[in-house]
Amino acid sequence: MSFDLDLIVQALPELLQSVLVTIELFVLLMLIATPISLLVALARVSSMLGLRCAAACYVNGIRCIPVLVILYFTFYGLPQLGLRIAPFTAALTGLTIGTVAYLAEDLRAGLTAIDPGQFQAADALGLGYWWRTRRIIVPQALPVMIGPYFTRAIVSLKATSMASIVAVNEVTGESMALLTQTYRALEFLTFAAITYLTLSAVLAFAQVILQRKVALP
């Protein structure tokens, strides 16, 4: 049993292409999921009962089922509804639905960490809801949110590997395709593992920098 680096060098163009697909999937996922999650988290702490219940149902319902099953819903289920979408879009939609539920729960913890006196002070000053949320609540919640946010981002990065099961050729899918062509598992799975470790190291590094930037005095 030896490690044949040539195999990876030969397949490098395809492998790098698949790394780009992983990055694209992950970046789009976070760009879409972050604002929606923040809205769901705000709905979870809203004073309107209906909004609070709807958000709680969504979050707890989605967190009960495997993300893979959500991917099957968007991949197999949506066409049954007459909606034909590409595997990449199906995977992105499914991963977004799942990630929003988990991320909203993480962000909510940050919102509830704020001193209730801040809400009262904002009310006393007669600030409107959006003004209060944007200028008072979110800036104070950010330092608390960054840690859990990046932890969730790394979990989501790892979750993009599931897109390979619904026919997206990201890094896990491409590694498996090459594995079945060459019957060499060690080389290609090592490549996939190193890709994920590198990308999550980049995220961990970004977290350290951001945390320093937004730290409260």
Binding site: L68, V69, Y72, Y76, G82, M162, S175, A185, L189
Partner: protein, 220 residues
């Protein structure tokens, strides 16, 4: 669209057998990984760097790559070293490796959350190490270990869905087969979502109860 759940009338025994396999994986993985995690936690909490650094590296790698890739390694790479595993055994091995390090980190964090003054008090009272752990440290660490432990067990239940990718006929794989055979994805997926929901809702209820029981303000 018209929902027609009659597909379940003939397919339910096949799908429920899959659910039984999924549950079997969860139970075996939890039974194996919990004691292993306690041993790994000793390594992660070690002061000896020759033990600490390799353990940290193993933990970083296993928690840094997707569980799906860990399963592929267990099923495709391990046989290249002469150990061939059946899909079920490979899935259990892969999930156990992952969950062991996740729970070990949890245990280490739990023990770190105990007030350092407690260690000083143990030393002052001259308590033997085993009794100190059992009577003083463990009861104080458990409240911060149990709720996330249950939460990760919920993840494990959902994680078993990945075992199908290396050929284990668990619930989601069987659902996939039935979908292809009947072309009724919505009905099948709603049903298995409900099955996962029942198990996970039970675990979430357990977690909520544990959190209430050991909420910080309820502690003395």
């Amino acid at each position: 669209m018209h929902l027609n759940f009659s597909v379940w009338l003939t397919r339910w025994p096949y799908l429920l057998q899959g659910a039984a396999i999924s549950l079997e994986i969860v139970v075996i993985v939890l039974l194996l990984s919990t004691p292993l995690a306690m041993i790994a936690a000793l390594g992660l909490g070690a002061t000896n760097r020759a033990i600490l650094y390799p353990m940290m590296a193993i933990s970083w790698i296993l928690r840094g790559i997707p569980p799906l890739v860990i399963l592929f390694v267990a099923y495709f790479v391990v046989p290249q070293f002469g150990i061939s595993l059946t899909p079920l055994v490979a899935a259990i091995a892969g999930f156990t490796a992952y969950n062991t390090l996740v729970v070990a980190e949890l245990i280490v964090a739990g023990f770190r959350s105990v007030d350092p003054g407690q260690h000083a008090a143990i030393a002052a009272l001259g308590l033997p190490p085993f009794r100190a752990y059992r009577r003083v440290l463990l009861p104080q660490a458990l409240p911060s270990i149990i709720p996330p432990y249950i939460s990760y067990s919920t993840d494990m239940v959902k994680g078993t869905a990945l075992a199908g990718s290396i050929g284990v006929l668990e619930l989601v794989t069987r659902a996939n087969q039935v979908i292809l055979a009947t072309n009724r994805p919505f009905e099948i997926l709603l049903g298995i979502a409900a099955l996962y929901g029942i198990v996970d809702a039970g675990l979430m209820g357990l977690q909520a109860a544990a959190e209430r029981l050991w909420a910080p303000h309820a502690r003395r």
